[in-house]
């Protein structure tokens, strides 16, 4: 149950990041944060946040089982496949 909740949270972070990428509230803000224009600092921090979310996604939602099933050469197929 806890693992499922962690997976759902990790997946839910992706659309949240997509929304946060559109920082309309900083559009015309000329102030500085950490020595850089705040609009630039925000997106550098955003990039750092993406790293954390991806790290979490890989830890709790890695589709290992699905990939193992897909990659298993149980049918002995190889070479060109055209159906």
């Amino acid at each position: 149950m806890a693992a499922r909740a962690a997976r759902v949270t990790a997946y839910a972070a992706l659309p949240a990041l997509y929304a946060l990428h559109n920082d309309l509230w900083l559009w015309d803000d000329p102030s500085r944060l950490l020595g850089l224009p705040v609009g630039l600092t925000y997106h550098i921090l955003f990039t750092a946040a993406v790293v954390l979310v991806m790290w979490r996604l890989v830890r709790v939602a890695w589709p290992g089982d699905a990939l193992r099933k897909l990659a298993a050469r149980s049918d002995g197929a190889g070479g060109e496949e055209t159906g």
Binding site: F46, T47, V50, A71, A77, E81, G83
Partner: protein, 488 residues
Amino acid sequence: MTLAVIFAYLGAVLLIGVWSNRRLAATGEDFFVAGRTIGPFVLLMTLFGTHMTSFALLGASAESYRIGIGVFSLMASSSALMVPIVFFFVGTRVWAVGSRLGLLTQVQFVRARWGSDGVGLLLFVVLVLLLLPYLLIGVMGGGVVLGQITDGAAPSWLGSLLVSVVVIGYVTSGGLRGTAWVNTFQTAMFMLLGAVTAILIVASLGGVGEALDRVAESRPELLVRGEAIHPLRLLSYTLIPLSVGTFPHIFAHWLSAKRAATFKAPVVLYPVCIAVVWIPSVLLGLFGNIDFPGLDGAASNSVLVRMIGLYAPDLLAGLLGAGVFAAIMSSLDSQSLSLGTMFTQDVVRHYRWGGDLNEARQVRLGRLFVVAVVATVFLLSLVAERSIFALSVWSFTGFASLLPVVVAALYWRRSTAAGACAAILTVIALWSWFFVRGIGNPDYSVGGAGIMPVAVVFAGSTLAMIAGSLLSRPPAPERIARFIPCAR
């Protein structure tokens, strides 16, 4: 001095490529996808190097010079988000299916998924047509950069020729393994040199704060997004990096991974690579307004080279030239190899031209096609106009809009060949419609509302995929099982 550094760098790149030839087994799988043996670090570096073109160094600084800090949100942080998502959800599954079925190209992938030769052929034509201008931009970029760095002393054809010959040398020598090794070296080069260049120039300007104050005095609008970027443009531009999911050269690198877990490093660390390359480029472009105000059009593309000439001549100019060549060649090599793979596997082998292809003949043909592709692109570069550079975003639009086909193949059991065909035809129709209207206008948006054409073409492609699939007969369950695992 500048040329000596560039020649030394090109020599080193060729050596790595030729050295990788010692590991080459004479099989198609080894030549075209490195025998599926690439580890996490090389996969990360080669994926990043292949995806980033010279635009990340020269084009980003030029865009930042023109429109300011907004270029980072538009092109860098959007890629930092979307590209790892595509690696996670699409790349890993493509690798799993590809390694199981022994696939080498996207066309083989769709043929295997839907059992349709027609969809494969249609996709082959579209991919080749979208990739050719991209290759041309790389070869021409080599000429332009050499001309800028040597202040016009070296003709542009010489730079294009150098790039072409070196790429042919190491790609035909080491196949995808050689390409991946060289790309790892080249990616490290342009990341390191970009950072060193930025540190030296910013120090000469008195530090970041001082330089920003000077920009704020003359061009305060560059320190905000303001009028330069429409909010809807930012929203829709986020779809452009989805093109990474359908680039043939990225597809080939995915297939070269040793195991599924190899993807974890690229998924997590790709945004770090983006930040390392783009932050210096954007800042340097911005600071170019201090010493070189008022550059417009093509002149603004050389703002980074001008700054290096002013603050750090000779050795650094040569090193930066090497870094830009690295960025150009690390994309061009994989693109030319992927086209060589497609012609060998999807045309000659698939249609059995000249009978069955044994492993040795596959490798020989692959090499021959790489030489033919690069030589053809070099000859085209001699007659093509500079306006070809405007084609890059159109090429990305086409690739991004094909992503629904790949996603449907991997995740939607009900998807069919008719749906895929409808989606590809919709991309062709809508892309052509917008291309005719927008090619002369770099700020073109749908109805002038700020929405990038990619948003409409992508939506059209998705709807066509759904409608075409639902209106046709469902595929056989055993075919689906090879691509989509059962939930149980």
